[in-house]
Every structure is written in C-alpha cells, then in structure tokens.
Symmetry: C2
Subunit: 307 residues, 2 copies
C-alpha cells in the first residue's frame, strides 16, 4: 500500500481517479475552513466536483448547530449547500434515536444544536444550558437533584457549560443499564490553536462522563460506521466509488478505511505527513487504518489538477 | 493462589498472620467510614493494631483536604491519628514537586487542599475556585485568558468547579512538552451512591484533561508505586511485613500487589466478591493483580479474631 501525493500525479492520473468516483464525503473544519476562515480555493474545488457530476456531502462531527444553521454558515463562507447535503452529528444522533423508535426522554450534555434536532423528530430532551454547582455536592445530591424516571438516554456532545452537576447527572442516569449512552463524537480538540490555546473538543466531555459512568458510549460520528448506515438508508452510495476527504486521521480517514472508501488527507488541519508515516510503519493494524490513500497540502491545491 | 476469607480462619491462623506484619496501610472511605458515617468497629480494630505494636498509616487518594484537616476528620469520627500517620494525595503531590526541586508555578485544577499543601512547601500555585465560562469560548481565548509563561506544572485533583475554561487552560499549558502533568489520583467515582446518584471522582476530571491534552499524567495516588517510594524515604518499611487494606481493587489492592505487600479487601465499599472471582479467573495478568490475598465483610469483623 503506497500513499500518493495527489499534487505529484499527472493530470490524466487525477482524471482517472475522479472518473472512478461518484460520491464525495468531505469533512469541514480543517478541510474547507479553519473556524470562520475559509481555506483558499476550497469552494471552487467543491463547485468543480459538482460540475463533474459528483454528489458532495458535508460530513462533520460538529454537533452544536442544526443542519439549517450549517447551511447558513456554508453560505456565508461561499460554499453551496442544501440541508440534504449536510450530515452533522446533532442530526445523525436524532436520526438514530428516531430510527430505533425511542419514546422516552433524553438528558443532553450539549447544546441546542442537539435538542432542536431531537425536537424536530418529536423526541423530548432537557439539560442544555448552564448548570453550575450552586452550593456543594452534598446539597446537590441530597436536595437539588432528583433523577427523572422517564429518562431513557443520555447524549453527550460539545458542551461549553460542562460542569460537575452535569457529569454527576449523566453518570447517575447511566447507572441504570437500560439507559442508552450516546456520544455524538469523540474529537479530542479543535483543529487549530487560537492564541496558543488548545480548544477542548467533545471527546473531553465524553471522557469525563464515561469514566465515572463506567460505560462506553455508542458513537454516532466519525469514525463510527453508523454514519454510512444512515447515508445508505437514504441515498444510493457505492463505497468503492466514494471518496472521503478529511484532515484528521482517527476520524475522517479511519471512517473511510472502515467503509472501504478511497481516502484523501489534506494537510491543512490536525494531522501531518509525519504522523502518517509513523502509522504506516507501525506493526499495529489499527494504526495502518489511519493511513490515507492520497494526500495533498490543502483542498484548493486540487483545482489546477481538475481543470 | 487462593483468596482467603479472614473470618473463616481460626484465631491462631489470624494471630500467625498478624505476627508477620509490622506496618498496616489502610484506605479510609469505604474501609473506615462511608462519607461521614463510621463503619462499625473500625476504630477499635485500628486501636487494636496499635496495641499489637503495628505502625498504622492512613493512605488515601483524597486530595481535597490537608493532612491537618484529615486528622480533624479522624478525630470527629473516633479514629486516633497524628499528621505523620496521614498520606493524602494532596500532601504527596506537594512532596513530589518539592523532592524534584520544582521552582516554577503550578496551575491547579482542584481544591485548596492541594494549593495549601503546595504553599507549605514553598510552591506557588493558582487556579483553585470557580472559573465558569463568562461569555463564550472565542472571547475566552481571544481576550480573557493569557498563558502565564512561568507555569511549569499542571496538577489535576478533584474539582467540583470543573469547567470548560479550566479544561482549556490545563490543556493549553500542557501543550508545552516541558510542563509537568500530575494527577493526584484517578478514582472514577465515590465508594457509594447518595440518593441513587453516582459521585464522580478525580478520574473524571483527569480523563477530560488528558483527552484534549493528548498526554498521560504522572500519577501520585494509589495504585501508583510513587506512594511507597515516598513512604520509604521517610520510614523504615519492609514490604513483606506490610499489609494493605482497602475496598477498591484497582487502587488499594493493585498498589499492594505491585509493592509486594499482603492485601486485604473489605467488602464495605466499592468492590464485591463477585468482582474478585471474575478477575481471579481472568487470563489477563493485570486482572489478577486486582485479587487480594484476604477478604472480610468489613474491618470491624476482624475485632473478635484479634482479641
């Protein structure tokens, strides 16, 4: 297995590659933009893909906004999108509970991105928003908090209001073995630093809760293959004719490997070529699932090869 | 290797066992008391041990109080203690930094139990107390927070004010490879439920931070063997003539196994005999380190066997 620099291929080789592809799944932050800063050329490449007749899906572990809000963001940054092109983990989580016929209430550690997607599919939830420790832990458990017996699931997503009461409540619901435990995703941190700061991701909140709950969650987002089940339920997708583009190997590329997609790593986000080379030489089979088929500096660098 | 019920041994067998022991290390919550509720007979057993000439240490992963405060608690509950008998992880963490000649500043995710033990050994720290998200993450990293270049260590202990800003700050300091990362302990949850609530432990906070920091901490508390290095630096302790008593196998008993102590599990706290039997039959060598030499329902049940 060799990993190829797309930029070093001839125009014909690139043409051949893309003629074998119908569907393109692209990650967003780190591939199309960094936070609200567009990565040069990325919108043109996606437009070019569509012009070539490819179906493009935005596939993101983002769970803080709804699909509609995601489209507004795309529009602001110059990317064409419709709701049906967008797969956020907030939406996919709601789909999952809906598809299994879930009828109880959900305790959400996360944002209204999740609660609104749930609500649209008729699923009741609570927990979003600040929930700080008011007095002390003893008062919390003796007086302030009562377990709601109608809760049948805990969803953990990104929650900037993560707090001791939230962790305690989630773990207490999860102590009942029938209570479902769902993580939107487990991304450890944001794809870039801001002012030298690490931006903790959903994975931090999930780790806090799974540790005291003593249970592992069902994972919705990349690299869980639930995502491809959800897509194939709705669209005709042939894995062999699908390309997964991402900047993070343990979510994007691993998803592609597991689903039998072709994979393309862009070096504009989390992982470097050094990371990839280390995994490639690893004796651990899991590490080798992190190695993409192709890489390129940034998505925009593809444009001259496609025109 | 067989695990023996102490209560089923003859008085002579028990006498022989204790004549081979000089030093007794005992865990506290789940062994001597549950929160502030004394476990019947426990103070009498410790008094009996001392009467028999044993040196007794209280060895606790508790990091929210100082050694002095711990003695006050012991006194309230009817246990005899002096500061020198007490090994809390707040104290041991301060010892560790002191012993390696640490001169910089510490960012503490934890309580004043840690900051006061540090201060007593002349080590500067900050971070204790509430630190909620005031506006949003962008404002936090763009305006509100500046990394302090004098920080050389992050300590994570139990922090009921755990928050997104704290996790972000810890991970950002830890992004510098020279910054030490120390966890007082990794206990997942408290030894009992209160009103059906799980009480998340230090392990939850550590998991949140290590996940986004992408690093594993140096562990001070049980089952890390640092604790026995710290004891032996100060006292003459022969591992073969030492008994470790605890209610939690993955901290107390594992520490004992690793240090070559004799081990006694009391069933008044976290682990059950079923847990132990599962580990005993496991093919995994690590699991077998969780199996104690002896068990008993509760510490107080020892009293009739000793008199």
């Amino acid at each position: 297995m060799s990993i190829k620099n797309l930029a070093s291929l001839s125009r014909d080789e690139v043409k051949n590659l893309f003629s074998s592809i119908d569907t393109i799944l692209t990650d967003c932050d780190g591939v199309l933009w960094l936070h609200m800063k567009i990565l040069p050329g990325a919108p043109d490449v996606l437009n070019k893909f569509r012009e070539m007749g490819k179906r493009v899906f935005y596939i993101t572990n983002n769970n803080v906004i709804t699909r509609e809000e995601f489209c507004v963001k795309c529009d602001k940054l110059g990317f064409t999108s419709t709701k049906d092109d967008v797969l956020t983990t907030s939406y996919l989580t709601a789909c999952y509970l809906h598809d299994i016929g879930f009828k109880k209430k959900v305790y959400v550690v996360g944002t209204s991105g999740i609660s609104r997607e749930l609500s649209r599919l008729g699923i009741r939830s609570f927990g979003v928003g600040p929930d700080p420790l008011i007095s002390d832990v003893a008062t919390l458990v003796m007086k302030d908090f009562k377990l709601d017996p109608d809760v049948g699931a805990v969803i953990v997503g990104f929650d900037e209001y993560i707090s001791y009461p939230k962790i305690l409540k989630a773990a207490s619901y999860l102590n009942h073995p029938d209570c479902l435990f769902i993580a939107t995703n487990t991304d450890e941190r944001g794809p870039s630093f801001i002012n030298d700061c690490v931006i903790p991701g959903t994975g931090s909140m999930v780790a806090a809760i799974e540790t005291c709950a003593g249970r592992k969650p069902f994972l919705i987002g990349k690299p869980s293959t639930y995502i491809i089940d959800a897509i194939r339920k709705r669209y005709n997708v042939d894995p062999e004719r699908t390309l997964m583009i991402g900047d993070r190997c343990n979510t994007d590329i691993l998803l592609g490997t597991r689903c039998g997609f072709k994979t393309l790593l862009v070096l504009s986000g989390v992982n470097t070529l050094d990371d990839v080379m280390n995994w490639k030489q690893s004796d651990n089979e899991e590490d080798r699932g992190l190695v993409p088929d192709y890489y390129i500096g940034k998505l925009g660098d593809l444009l001259p090869l496609l025109t």
